[in-house]
Symmetry: C2
């Protein structure tokens, strides 16, 4: 319906492409397209080219699989980071989220997914062999598993735990508990139950 009413195949094509972005319907795609039509040609050219270039030229770090412009990413090459801890995450986005907290100074290992029989993702689809190889000849002392607190996350964590047991490393996982700003009343029972079992020493903060 909308397609025929756009009165221009150039506009229709662009709207089709933009509506393939995640969470973007045809209405938002049309809004994007009409906004783009109002921009100077050079800006639109730069917009389109930067996206094509990103996809064409992106590289992944040969150590941790993070996105990188160089063979080894800035985090893996940073000598000031704590090289004794490797944080295992599902995706690139998780690295960005953890970096944004400013609370972690170790290294990473991006699995590229999570074990999920339902979605047909088995351990061999993930970069687990490269992790094991990496742990064999590195200064790692602790493996910190920052995986989702879902069934798939727990399965993956357990699989990895077994896989790396022979290295005798300290294995940690992100703390589970009641989220910051959450009300107890609305916290699910499993989370609340675990946060009681794993209760922590109270640390007063100066306001």
């Amino acid at each position: 319906m909308i397609r025929n009413n756009l009165s221009s195949s150039l506009l229709s094509d662009a709207v089709d492409e933009l509506s393939a972005l995640p969470g973007i319907g045809r209405k938002s795609a049309l809004r994007f397209a009409l906004h783009i039509l109002k921009q100077p040609k050079e800006n639109v050219e730069r917009f389109g080219r930067s996206i094509i270039r990103m996809r064409e030229e992106i590289r992944y770090c040969s150590v941790c699989n993070m996105i990188s412009d160089t063979p080894v990413c800035p985090i893996c090459s940073d000598r000031k980071r704590d090289r004794t801890v490797v944080c295992i995450v599902e995706s690139i986005r998780d690295v960005i989220s953890i970096e944004n907290t400013g609370e972690y100074r170790g290294l990473y290992h991006v699995l590229g997914g999570i074990i999920s029989p339902i979605d047909g993702v088995s351990p061999s689809d993930l970069s687990i062999d490269s992790l094991v190889k990496r742990l064999e000849d590195s200064e790692t002392e602790e493996v910190f598993m920052a995986l989702s607190t879902t069934m798939e996350g727990e399965t993956t964590a357990y699989y990895l735990y077994k896989k790396i047991a022979r290295f005798n490393l300290r294995v940690s996982t992100i703390a589970r508990g009641v989220g910051f700003g959450d009300e107890l009343e609305y916290t699910d029972e499993v989370t609340l139950g675990r946060s009681i079992t794993n209760r922590q020493p109270f640390m007063p903060v100066n306001q």
Copy 2:
């Protein structure tokens, strides 16, 4: 903060560009970029090129100013449409919205904006001269003003009304009233007041 943590200038550049889309913050832009990275190269190339091409090659109808791939747009060239009515709208998007209702079969004239002293938009910035010229030598019998029901919309409507008075055409405007599905309780007083003054004959609909 996020910028430095993206670990790739290719990714940062793409996120910068994507976050310039209307209503898109850096978090959504990053989601778009990571989604794009997972697509086949050909698709991303087509995505980028379709946007650049739209901006480069888009044309506007010489009659009504609507977006068009041809010198005269499909609506203006459609001999089956009612050529005695011209609907005046602010923007391309309004044409698309009205076409989507399927309730209008006449022609259009896109002003390219609305008179707004606050935003520095004066009548000379809009395609009013071309409208007047168009009305001079056309088969138009009715001018239908489908402008926003804002102060600027009313101002523009009044200005146009004065400007085209000498043609002795029928001048109409979109019906104002309580929106479909609106509750009276939450309707503002001006709208409710006008919808009482302009009450219409009740037309029973077979359910």
